[in-house]
Symmetry: C2
Subunit: 177 residues, 2 copies
């Protein structure tokens, strides 16, 4: 975690932008409660309340990634991340405060990014410990072959259509939905 | 894209595993249709039909990331990725074939990963061009302050409860759901 720099976030995200800088500040604020940790497996879990650019910063910095099952998306459109550490059962909630941004800054994108990366944390971010239930760990299920397309799908996503085993896209096609 | 190695995928995902190796092979197969490209912005869009480990390989290799809006998740539990290039309007569908894996290989995890990384592509992957509609680009909306918690939420996620502006968590709390 300690070796990850903003340029590494740009390399992953593909470009620099205010959203990425916001995610950088929010994630480093959250991780300051869990020193030295980047999640190799599911030690940390992140619950993100938006799917904006900043979540890419969170993925790289925290190791809570879409493919690992420890990135939970709640589609609330809010700049809020909650990080949870399974071992300590500690939760931290971080909120970005748009009201802290001087209005004239937004006009110059490069200057705005610089400002976001360097402004004192307390001016743009609120963070506090919270009590939350442990999120369910990611699970792996066996695959079953769809009798319509012949492709495999996870058994929990298999449907029955006219007595046949169907993956969701084939089931919807058969049912005309 | 060309400089990304399997070790870079491990660095992002946090560990090596068969799922990451599968994602590596699926993504490189898909990207072979779009030479030299890693999506800096939304030039490429990926539609993934699972949220398993392999999607982390896809994020790093293709630049289709959760935070950039060009990673579309369809929860079908299928090892299928479809990549779409906006400029050429070309789509490519890649399917992983679990039937191609010798049964005894799965018992030795390290050996299984090595095999997945080196087996000829045609034994485990089917890829073909497909015609698909262009996915909608990511959009940014303004934020509105929730009158209950005082936090901001994207205007498309704002609800009205008892005549007041509410974010989704506050709306659900007010309504007891």
């Amino acid at each position: 975690m300690m070796d990850v720099k903003y340029k590494d976030l740009i390399a992953f995200h593909g470009h620099s932008c205010p959203g990425l800088a916001i995610g950088y500040r929010m994630t480093t604020a959250a991780l300051s409660f869990f020193p030295g940790k980047r999640s190799e497996d599911e030690e940390l879990v992140a619950i993100v309340e938006n799917n904006a650019c900043g979540v890419d910063a969170l993925q790289v910095l925290s190791g809570c990634t879409f493919g690992k099952g420890n990135l939970i998306f709640k589609d609330y459109g809010k700049h809020v991340y909650t990080l949870y550490e399974r071992k300590s059962k500690k939760g931290v909630r971080v909120v970005f405060n748009f009201g802290g941004i001087p209005e004239n800054l937004r006009q110059d994108r490069a200057q705005f990014i610089d400002w976001l990366l360097t402004v004192p944390e307390k001016e743009i971010i609120q963070s506090r410990e919270v009590a939350i239930d442990a999120p369910a760990p990611a699970r792996i299920f066996k695959s079953v072959t769809c009798e319509f397309c012949g492709e495999e799908a996870m058994e929990t996503r298999i449907r029955k259509v006219a007595g046949k085993t169907a993956c969701i896209p084939c089931a919807e096609k058969q049912l005309g939905i």
